[in-house]
C-alpha cells in the first residue's frame, strides 16, 4: 500500500538548495499536506516524489520500493498540476482516458474508468468539451479525474486549488479530501494556504527554506509549535521579546521591555537567556480600565475592527509593544480607540522560544 518514505533527501539546482536533507514518512491512506511559504521547496519535494526531478542525494521509497531511478510513468502516481495541464488538443474524454490508454488497459476498461471518474466529478455530460471551454473549477475536476483514472493509489496535488476563486476553493477542498478517503488513496497536497492545510489534512509538514520544521496533526502544529516560525505561520501569534530574569521550580519569570515581569510555565531556558514569548491573539483577554491580575499589562486601544464573527483589537502596551487581541464579537466588550485597557494572559497558554540568532523580524519573514 502506498506509504511514502524520504530519507535524507536533498535537491540542488546549481547553487540553490531547494530541498535540504529532508526525511519524512507519509502513511498509507493519509491526507498529508506540505505547507510553507512560496519558495520553501514544497513543490520540489512533491516533484521529487513524482520522479519529475531527480534527487541530488538521499532515497525515496514508495510502498517500500526504492524509486530513485524509476521514471514517473512507472511510479504508480497521479499528479494534479497547479494549472491543471489538461492537454489542449484533446477533449475531456480523451484527457481522462489518456492514462488507461497509454497503459494499454484495453478499450473496455479505459471506457469504464473514464466513465466512472467523470461521473464521480459530475462532468460526464461535458466529455466532448475541450479544456478551453471549461471553467476553472471544471478543469480542476477533470484534472483530478484524469489523475485518478490512471489507477493511481498515490495522489500528488500541487497547489490544486491555487488557481480558483475563494468560494469554489473552499468547496473543492473538502471534496478533494472526500475523494481521497472514499477511494482509500494516499494524498499528498502542496499548499501555501495554512487555513486550507488545517481544514483538510490528517497531518502537515511545515517547510521553510528547504527544511521541514515540524510534522504533526493540525492540532499539534497549532497547540504545540516547536519552532517560532511554526507559531507564526500556523494561526496568528503576538511576539513579545524579553529575558529570563528568574527561574523557580515550576515557572520562569520573564522581563519584557520596559521592565514588565510576566510568568510562564516554560522550563527550557535558563536565567539570562534572551527569549520571545508567543501568545495567540485569541487567548488574550481585554478589560476596561486598570486591573491587577496574573500577567496583566495595561495599555490603550489603538485600533478596533468588527469582522463579523470576531472583533480584532490592536492594543499598544505601556512598554510600547503592540499586541493583537481577537475575541468573539458577541461574547466580548467593545472598545473605543484611545480607551485605557488591561490585557492579560494565563501562565500556561503561551510558548517561549529562544530569541532567533538572526533577529526576530528576519526569522519570521516569508521569503
Amino acid at each position: 500500500m502506498p506509504e511514502v518514505r524520504l530519507v535524507n533527501v536533498t535537491k540542488k539546482f546549481g547553487k540553490i538548495v531547494a530541498v535540504d536533507n529532508v526525511s519524512l514518512q507519509i502513511r498509507d491512506k493519509e491526507y498529508f499536506c506540505l505547507l510553507g511559504p512560496s519558495g520553501c521547496g514544497k513543490t520540489t519535494l512533491l516533484r521529487l516524489i513524482a520522479g519529475l526531478v531527480d534527487p541530488s542525494k538521499g532515497e525515496i521509497y514508495i510502498e517500500n520500493r526504492l524509486v530513485n531511478s524509476v521514471p514517473p510513468e512507472d511510479r504508480g502516481i497521479g499528479f494534479v498540476f497547479q494549472e491543471y495541464a489538461l492537454f489542449p488538443h484533446m477533449n475531456v474524454w480523451d484527457n481522462v482516458t489518456y492514462g488507461p490508454r497509454v497503459k494499454a488497459l484495453g478499450s473496455k476498461e479505459s471506457e469504464r474508468l473514464g466513465r466512472e471518474m467523470l461521473e464521480m466529478v459530475r462532468l460526464f455530460e461535458r466529455l466532448d468539451a475541450f479544456p478551453s471551454e471549461l471553467s476553472g473549477g471544471m478543469m480542476q475536476r477533470v484534472a483530478l479525474s484524469r489523475a485518478l483514472a490512471a489507477g493511481a493509489k498515490l495522489l500528488l496535488l500541487d497547489e490544486p486549488l491555487g488557481a480558483l476563486d475563494a468560494r469554489i476553493r473552499n468547496e473543492l477542498r473538502y471534496e478533494l479530501r472526500k475523494f481521497v478517503k472514499d477511494l482509500e488513496l494516499t494524498g499528498i497536497h502542496v499548499t501555501h494556504d495554512q487555513a486550507e492545510a488545517m481544514a483538510i489534512s490528517d497531518r502537515i509538514a511545515l517547510m521553510r527554506k528547504g527544511k521541514v520544521l515540524q510534522v504533526g496533526t493540525p492540532q499539534e502544529l497549532y497547540m504545540t509549535p516547536q519552532h517560532i516560525f511554526v507559531a507564526h505561520f500556523i494561526g496568528e501569534s503576538n511576539f513579545l521579546e524579553g529575558y529570563v530574569s528568574k527561574m523557580t521550580r515550576k515557572e520562569s519569570i520573564i522581563e519584557l521591555r520596559g521592565g514588565l515581569l510576566v510568568r510562564t510555565l516554560d522550563m527550557k531556558h535558563k536565567e539570562g537567556d534572551k527569549v520571545v514569548i508567543a501568545i495567540r491573539p485569541e487567548v488574550l483577554t481585554v478589560e476596561k480600565g486598570k486591573k491587577r491580575r496574573v500577567n496583566s499589562i495595561s495599555g490603550h486601544v489603538e485600533g478596533f475592527r468588527f469582522e463579523g464573527t470576531n472583533v480584532r483589537c490592536k492594543i499598544r502596551l505601556e512598554n510600547g509593544d503592540l499586541v493583537l487581541v481577537v475575541r468573539p464579537a458577541l461574547m466580548t466588550e467593545w472598545f473605543n480607540v484611545g480607551e485605557r485597557v488591561t490585557v492579560s494572559f494565563s501562565v500556561e497558554k503561551n510558548f517561549v522560544f529562544p530569541y532567533p540568532e538572526r533577529g526576530l523580524k528576519r526569522e519570521l519573514t516569508l521569503e
Partner: protein, 555 residues
C-alpha cells in the same frame, strides 16, 4: 530640440483616430504599391508573350520538368529537414551541457553565411579536388541534382532547428510531465502530447524550409551543373537570350509564383486542421523506443547528419580562405588589384543596399506589424494581410525579380540602383513584419492599456511600452532583413546588371568551372578568400546579434 518636438507632435497627433488611420493606410498603400501589386502586374503586362511558349514543345517540356524539380526538391528537403532537425532542436532546447551551447551557435552558421558562399563551399567539399572527394580519388559528387539536394538541406536545416528549438523552449513542460505521471513513456509522450501541441511550429518550420528551398538561386547555380529547376531555368534563359525566351521566362515565373502562393495559402488554411494520429498506443514498442539506447542512437545519427552534411561542408570554404591569407592573396585583395577592385565595389554595394532595405522596411513594416497583431482593421482584414505579407517569402526570388523588372521598366527609365533597392525591399519585407507580429502578439495587452489609463497617447504607448518590450524581436527582424538582402542573388540577377557580392562570386565560380570567361584568371584561392571575407562579416553580425540577444530583461 527638434526631435523632441517632433515626438511631441506625433504623440498629440496620435490621439486623433483620423491621423492613426491615415498612418496605417499609408503603410498598407506602401505594401500594396511596392510589394504586392508590381509582381502581379509585371506578369500581366507580358501575358501575351506566354502563348509563344506553348508552340515550342521542347521549351515547354524543359519548363515543366524544371518546375516539377523545384517543387519535388523543396518538399523532399523540407521533410528531411524536419526529421533530421527535430532531435537536434530538442538537444539545443533541453540539453544542459555546455557543449550544447556551442552546438546552438553552430546551428546558426549556415543560416548566416550568404547562400552563394555556402554553395561554393559545398562544391569544394563534395566535388573539387581540394575537398573530401580527394580522399576517394576524384570527385565524389558531380554538380547535379544530388548536390542541389544536399545544398538545399544544408541551408534550410537551420531554419527548422531554430524555429523548433524556440517552440520547445516556449512549450509548457507540464503537459509533458502530466503525460509521464499518467503512465506514458517518453516516446508516447512526445508522439501524443508534445508534438501535437507543437504542431503550429512544425508546420511553420516546414513552410519556412520549403520557402527557402523553392526560392534559392545563387548557390543552386553554383552546384547545379546541367540540372535545371525553376530558378536555374529562368537564369539560363536570361543568360542565353534565345529566340522567344521572354515568353518562357514569364511562363515559368508565373507558374512558380502561382503554385508557391497556392501551397502557402493551403498550408495556412488546412494546416491547423491537420490531425495527428494520437488515439492508438503501442505500449511495448513505444516503451522500447523510449529506451536510452534508441534515444542515444537517434541523437547520434542526427548529430552526425548535422556535422557531416551541414556544418563541415558549409564551413569548408574557410580552408582556402585561410590558405589565401597565408600565401599573399590577401595583400592583393587589400590593395584592390585586378579582380579585387570589383570585389570591394560589390561588397560596398551589397552592404549599402542591405542597410537601405533594412531601414526602409523597418519604417514601413512596424505600422503593418501593429496593424496585423492588434487587429486594428478588424479580424478578417488583419488575417488576410497576415497571409499577404508572407507571400514574398514563398515566391522564388528570381521569378519575383523577373516580374518586378518587367513592371518597373515598363514605366520609365529607372536608375538601376533604385530598381535594385525596390527588389530587395520586396524580398525582405516579410522578415521584419513576421518577427514583430509574433512579438507583439506575445505581448500582454494589459501593459498597453495600463499605459493608456496612466495618460499615454497611442504613439506614446507605442514608443514607451511596445517598442522597448519588443526591441529584441525588432533587432532580430532587422538582422534577418539585412542578411537576406546581402545574400540575395536570384532577384538581383533578374533585374540588374549591377553586381552585388553574391552575384559577383557566382560569376567567379562560373569562370572557374569554365562556364564563363574572364580577362583576368580567377583561382580557387581568390574565390575562397572572397567567400571568407563575406563569411567574416557575417560572423561579426552574428556575434553582435548574440550579444544583444543576451541582454538582461528579455521579454
Amino acid at each position: 530640440m527638434a526631435t523632441s518636438s517632433i515626438i511631441k507632435f506625433l504623440d498629440s497627433a496620435s490621439s486623433k483616430s483620423s491621423v492613426r488611420y491615415a498612418f496605417y493606410l499609408s503603410s498598407i498603400t506602401f505594401f500594396a504599391t511596392i510589394i504586392l501589386i508590381p509582381p502581379i502586374l509585371g506578369i500581366v503586362l507580358k501575358w501575351n508573350t506566354m502563348a509563344e511558349t506553348f508552340t515550342k514543345p521542347s521549351l515547354m517540356s524543359r519548363a515543366t520538368t524544371a518546375i516539377y524539380a523545384s517543387f519535388a526538391i523543396a518538399i523532399f528537403v523540407s521533410i528531411i529537414d524536419v526529421v533530421a532537425g527535430l532531435p537536434v532542436a530538442w538537444l539545443v532546447a533541453r540539453g544542459r551541457s555546455r557543449w550544447l551551447n556551442v552546438l546552438d551557435t553552430f546551428v546558426d552558421i549556415p543560416f548566416i553565411i550568404p547562400t552563394a558562399t555556402l554553395g561554393y563551399s559545398l562544391l569544394l567539399f563534395w566535388n573539387r579536388p581540394e575537398g573530401i572527394s580527394s580522399l576517394f580519388g576524384g570527385n565524389l559528387l558531380s554538380p547535379g541534382w544530388l548536390l542541389v539536394i544536399l545544398l538545399h538541406f544544408a541551408f534550410s536545416y537551420p531554419v527548422v532547428v531554430r524555429v523548433m528549438a524556440g517552440a520547445i523552449l516556449d512549450y509548457k513542460r507540464e503537459y509533458e510531465e502530466a503525460a509521464r505521471t499518467l503512465g506514458a513513456p517518453p516516446f508516447t509522450t512526445d508522439r501524443t502530447v508534445t508534438l501535437p501541441i507543437l504542431k503550429p511550429s512544425l508546420i511553420a518550420s516546414f513552410t519556412l524550409a520549403f520557402a527557402r528551398s523553392i526560392s534559392e538561386t545563387g548557390a543552386t547555380l553554383i552546384v547545379a551543373g546541367a540540372f535545371e529547376n525553376g530558378p536555374i531555368l529562368i537564369n539560363n534563359l536570361k543568360t542565353a537570350q534565345e529566340l522567344g525566351y521572354e515568353g518562357a521566362l514569364v511562363f515559368v515565373s508565373f507558374i512558380l509564383i502561382v503554385i508557391s502562393s497556392l501551397i502557402f495559402v493551403t498550408i495556412r488554411l488546412l494546416g491547423p486542421r491537420l490531425k495527428m494520429p494520437i488515439k492508438k498506443v503501442w505500449p511495448v514498442t513505444e516503451r522500447k523506443l523510449s529506451g536510452s539506447r534508441i534515444t542515444n542512437l537517434r541523437n547520434a545519427l542526427s548529430l552526425i547528419a548535422f556535422f557531416l552534411l551541414v556544418l563541415i561542408p558549409s564551413l569548408f570554404v574557410v580552408l582556402p580562405a585561410v590558405y589565401a591569407i597565408i600565401n599573399g592573396t590577401l595583400n592583393k585583395a587589400v590593395v584592390g588589384v585586378g579582380i579585387w577592385q570589383g570585389y570591394w565595389q560589390s561588397l560596398i554595394l551589397s552592404y549599402s543596399v542591405g542597410v537601405v532595405a533594412t531601414l526602409l522596411n523597418t519604417i514601413v513594416g512596424l505600422p503593418m506589424a501593429v496593424l496585423i497583431s492588434r487587429r486594428r482593421l478588424g479580424t478578417k482584414l488583419s488575417s488576410i494581410l497576415d497571409v499577404l505579407v508572407n507571400i514574398p517569402l514563398m515566391v522564388p526570388s528570381i521569378a519575383l525579380g523577373v516580374s518586378l523588372s518587367i513592371f518597373w521598366r515598363s514605366f520609365a527609365v529607372m536608375p538601376e540602383m533604385v530598381l535594385l533597392i525596390l527588389v530587395h525591399l520586396s524580398i525582405t519585407y516579410p522578415y521584419l513584419v513576421r518577427s514583430m507580429v509574433a512579438a507583439i502578439e506575445r505581448l500582454n495587452v494589459d501593459f498597453e492599456e495600463a499605459s493608456r489609463t496612466l495618460g499615454g497617447r497611442p504613439f506614446t504607448v507605442f514608443r514607451t511600452i511596445v517598442l522597448p518590450l519588443t526591441k529584441y524581436s525588432l533587432f532580430a527582424g532587422a538582422i534577418m532583413v539585412f542578411t537576406r538582402s546581402v545574400s540575395e542573388t536570384g532577384a538581383t540577377l533578374a533585374v540588374t546588371e549591377l553586381k552585388t557580392a553574391p552575384v559577383l562570386l557566382v560569376g567567379w565560380v562560373n569562370v572557374l568551372l569554365g562556364k564563363a570567361e574572364s580577362p583576368i584568371p580567377i583561382t580557387p584561392l581568390d574565390i575562397g578568400l572572397g567567400c571568407g571575407i563575406l563569411i567574416g562579416f557575417s560572423f561579426i553580425i552574428l556575434l553582435i546579434s548574440r550579444l544583444f540577444a543576451r541582454g538582461k530583461g528579455r521579454y
